[in-house]
């Protein structure tokens, strides 16, 4: 990623923003409401034939967002507010995280997802990626292991302290000279799992990099993982959803998905079958809630699972069939260091899918 020439210099983007505002004013003068035509991108649909265009990164239609309805008006409102913020960021060469932006007016934005969607809309409108807008992700990821890089002129040498977590660099443009001798990258969903592995000195014993995105993965986590084999660990529908976000990109940021997704990612575990294999006590198995089931059924419809990841899909089907889930920590019930042996076993035995 480093070294990629950006087609969207701040000056270009500022000119595009002014052009858009000018267009809105001209529309108003001609008695037309403000409106935006946005190419529609999606990472998946529910067409099981696999003949859809979701995998092509081409737009699948256009959304005309105008003042036709309340939801449209809201979408335009949020978009314009963000354009205003972005214009200021670009003019002053400052950066703000999506979370920072959300907290500028939480009562208006209501939900982080609305900010994310508006950013996606603006990326489409201005034909650029999010980081061009000086909008950075929330600096929440941690990384440790066999890695060294330079962030904003400062050398970060993770390998010197392989059992310490370092913040994942936020600004991609300022991250250079990434050097790694790792055999694989391990992405874990939960920070507790990350800390467990750190305590177990996992990276001292395994030549790898461990990353956590803390919840839903953020772009830099995924971007840094781009060239490596990655093995996350999950066992419930929501964990599964996060897994798909790494591999296929999120719907929320569908336009930018091609930059952020990691198509080569493997699912290392945990699988439902592991509960039998490792004699997980029954009390650790939780029944799927109605919401879990709904979520699972919706995910099963996604075209990319039919097309590109039938094995993943099968796992989810089994989960739905048995109607149970469990937390990854449950496997540590017998031994705190369970994961430290489980993970290398899974990799050596090629039990990932």
């Amino acid at each position: 990623m480093a070294g990629r020439v950006s087609p969207s210099e701040p000056a270009d983007l500022l000119a595009k923003i002014r052009g858009f505002v000018r267009l809105v004013l001209e529309d108003l003068c001609n008695g037309r409401p403000p409106s935006v035509a946005l190419d529609r991108f999606k990472t998946y649909c529910s067409d099981p034939s696999g003949n859809c265009s979701c995998s092509t990164d081409l737009p699948c239609g256009k959304d005309i967002v105008s003042l036709e309805s309340k939801s449209h008006a809201y979408r335009i409102d949020i978009m314009l507010r963000l354009l205003l913020i972005i214009q200021q960021l670009l003019q002053e060469n400052k950066h703000a995280s999506k979370r920072d932006i959300y907290y500028m007016e939480p009562s208006v934005f209501q939900d982080q997802g609305n900010v994310d969607r508006a950013i996606n809309d603006i990326c489409i409108l201005l034909e650029c990626s999010r980081h061009h807008l000086n909008v950075v992700p929330m600096g929440k990821g941690l990384v440790m292991g066999w890695l060294r890089f330079i962030e904003a002129g400062r050398k970060v040498n993770c390998i010197k302290n392989p059992n310490d977590g370092f913040p994942v660099p936020i600004c991609i443009e300022e991250t250079k000279d990434i050097v790694s001798v790792a055999q694989y990258i391990l992405v874990v969903e939960k920070e507790t799992v990350f800390q467990r592995l750190a305590n177990d000195k996992f990276c001292e014993r395994n030549r790898c990099i461990v990353i956590t995105g803390r919840g839903y993965p953020d772009a830099p986590t995924r971007r840094n993982g781009l060239t490596f084999l990655v093995n996350p660990v999950y066992a419930d529908p929501y964990g599964f959803d996060i897994l798909t976000t790494y591999r296929f990109g999120s719907m929320q940021m569908a336009y930018d998905a091609k930059i952020f997704r990691v198509p080569g990612i493997y699912w290392l575990g945990v699988f439902l079958s592991d509960s039998e294999k490792y004699c997980l006590p029954n009390r650790c198995l939780l029944n799927l809630t109605a919401k879990d089931k709904q979520k699972a059924e919706a995910i099963l419809m996604r075209c990319y699972l039919h097309r590109e990841a039938p094995k993943w899909r099968l796992e989810l089907e089994i989960m739905l069939d048995k109607g149970v889930k469990y937390e990854i920590e449950a496997l540590s019930a017998s031994s705190l260091s369970f994961l430290s042996t489980y993970i290398p076993q899974q990799i050596q035995g090629r039990h990932y899918i």
Binding site: G31, K70, Q87, Q88
Partner: protein, 432 residues
Amino acid sequence: METSRSSATRKLFQILIASAIQRCRLSGILCRLTISLKGFYDAHPPSVRISISDTGAGSNLVEFRDLNSGSVPIPAEKWGIHENDIHRYCLNLKELHGSRKRLKSGTEVSLSSAEEESIDEFVKWVVGFVQKIRILKIPDIVIELLVEHINNHGSRSESFLQEINDFSSPIPVSNINHLVSGLEDYVLGDGNGLTDNRQSCIKNRASLMVGTGQTNNMDNNRGMIQMVEAVVMITPMPTCSCCRKTNCSATQVLYFQDFSPSSIPQSSLNALTNIDWQNHLTEVTAPESQHRASSSSKRNLMKNAIKLALDDLKRKHTAELLSLHAQQVREYVPDLSRTIASLIFSSNDLGFQEECTALLGLHSVDNKTEEKAESIIKEMITGIIEMKDRNLKRKKEDTAHCLLFECESHLEEECPDEDYREEPEDTAIIDF
């Protein structure tokens, strides 16, 4: 108004009231119209005695004889009506000889009827009828209603006298303003002093939206002026469950002819009640024609008066009458305007700012402020939303308007603005 099931008694009652009102109006002085009902609950069959007396200009028998050929199918023998159900019809002309110049006259008509199935229902109907007359606030007529319930155990009376200050306004007020004020009282359930069979929780006079329209034409042949006055009043939708469930949940149409409640053709009624008032509750359209007129020209007068009233209403209450979804969209206008203005004025490109202020028509230096730009943008967006909504609504109203007067072919041609139907971009708004 129970147009569907009108007994002969009710029809006769209406006609008698109408002629009493006519006499009172003709007299030109303060008159009293007294309606007295006596319900004999334990009689066989139960019957009601009705007496209508007025102190208006004296009548003569001819006036009543005309009724024979009129709309009431009652066999009458010189107004002593001998039908099984309506009997003891008595006409009492009080005309004091020699005092004519002082207009000391009066008329009393009384009848008994056993036709009504339920006396209470009939009383309720009369009360409603009188309430409607009071809407007109006819100057110089005091309407009094006395009801006596009589059974074997005794009797109980109720008396409803119109409050004097209702009509004794020091400033002469036009009929249509009387109508507006009477309608407001009616809607608010105020000042009518009657047992309220249509209680309303809407108490805020300022929340009522009113449009009025007047049309008239001169009948050259007969030298008569025909006049129709229409009032459309919209009340806010009550939020309380009591009102929602009961009587005030729909459009109500009242029609008066010659200052007396009358019925309106069903098709016109349907058209009026079918107009989409969105979130609001339409109270009343009350056209009133001064003189009897030929039916087709009257229809046109009515149609135009209603149209004028609707236009008046829309002009005065554009914002409130926006469709629900347009209102929702309009809530974003302040934000949108502020943000667009900020985008212009926070840009570090001064040339761009110049360009934008020029587009907004801000030329003098004093005017080129963010606030000014914001308010212009706000006006523009609001105007656009309102216009789109109006166009959309007009399509629906055209249809209603065609229905309004039985849509004879020549009226169909008059249905305005065919071209509004051809805006394809608007169709998307329909399914919001």
